[in-house]
Amino acid sequence: MSVPLSAYLVFALLLFCIGLYGALTKRNTVIVLICIELMLNAVNVNLVAFSKYGVNPGITGQLFSLFTITVAAAEVAVGLAILIALYRNRKTIHIDEVDTMKR
């Protein structure tokens, strides 16, 4: 008897909730970015779990998770570039001080 599908899904759900809470409450933009990475990782766990225990098990879920990892890497590169441009212009990386569009 192997580990059931729901155990993997609950594990991914807990990871996603940790990432969501961190992304909503942290003040440092680097940490917010890395929390988003954690949420994407939870989605990848779901994809790989469904590729083994889903309705139509096969290799496709693993391929989808590879594509997600690629897009996440591109996203983190662009996000960090935006962060450095922001730091150069505003001298802050605190997410509550970036409120030009609210004023």
Binding site: S2, V3, P4, L5, S6, A7, L9, V10, F11, L14, L15, C17, G19, L20, Y21, G22, L24, T25, K26, R27, N28, V30, I31, L33, I34, E37, L38, N41, N44, V45, V48, A49, S51, K52, Y53, G54, V55, P57, G58, I59, T60, Q62, L63, S65, L66, I69, T70, V71, A72, A73, A74, V76, A77, L80, A81, L83, I84, A85, R88, K91
Partner: protein, 169 residues
């Protein structure tokens, strides 16, 4: 097979512990190091799910590249008070409430989900299977991914480079 259960519980415990430490630590570098534990444990979970190639990619990209690029981002910006003093406690409580509500609703949905199917042979020649599927059925998304990576590379360079005109003024 109790060995699989044991491995799953140990890996899940390390991963969730890394996440909890990330939420509660004070220094930004410590948070990133706590998340490395999470990423490596998720690679172990992938091995349990017979996805060895994805596990190797996870170790290379997440615990290698993304962690290093985050550490560069921390190095290049200044952290005087390390940002633990977040906004009002009301906002924090609301975020916690929303997250817990979301988690509870999703948990009710997936608690007993089981399709009763299990893939066989995913672990045999895993990389070969992925390569065959990638170059036959999914070749167009694969090529589009290369375009996306090129766009991200050029965009990141343009965004992060110094603006010479403003520098001269």
């Amino acid at each position: 097979m109790s060995g699989q259960y044991l491995a799953f519980f140990v890996l899940a415990l390390i991963a969730l512990g890394g996440g909890i430490f990330m939420l509660n630590l004070n220094k930004v570098v410590h948070m990133v190091v706590a998340l490395v534990f999470t990423f490596v444990s998720i690679a172990g979970i992938y091995v349990l799910l017979s996805a060895e190639f994805v596990a190797a990619v996870q170790v290379l990209i997440y615990s290698g590249a993304i962690t290093i690029i985050m550490l560069f981002g921390i190095m290049l910006t200044r952290h005087q008070d390390d940002g633990q003093s977040t906004g009002s406690p009301l906002r924090k409580a609301l975020a916690l409430l929303g997250t817990v509500a979301f988690g509870a609703v999703m948990y009710i949905g997936i608690r007993t989900l089981d399709f009763g199917t299990e893939a066989v042979g995913l672990h045999e020649n895993n990389t070969e299977q992925i390569g065959i599927a990638l170059y036959s059925k999914y070749v167009i998304p694969f090529e589009l991914t290369s375009v996306l990576l090129l766009v991200a590379l050029i965009g990141a360079v343009i965004l992060a480079k110094k603006d010479d005109k403003e520098e001269g003024e």
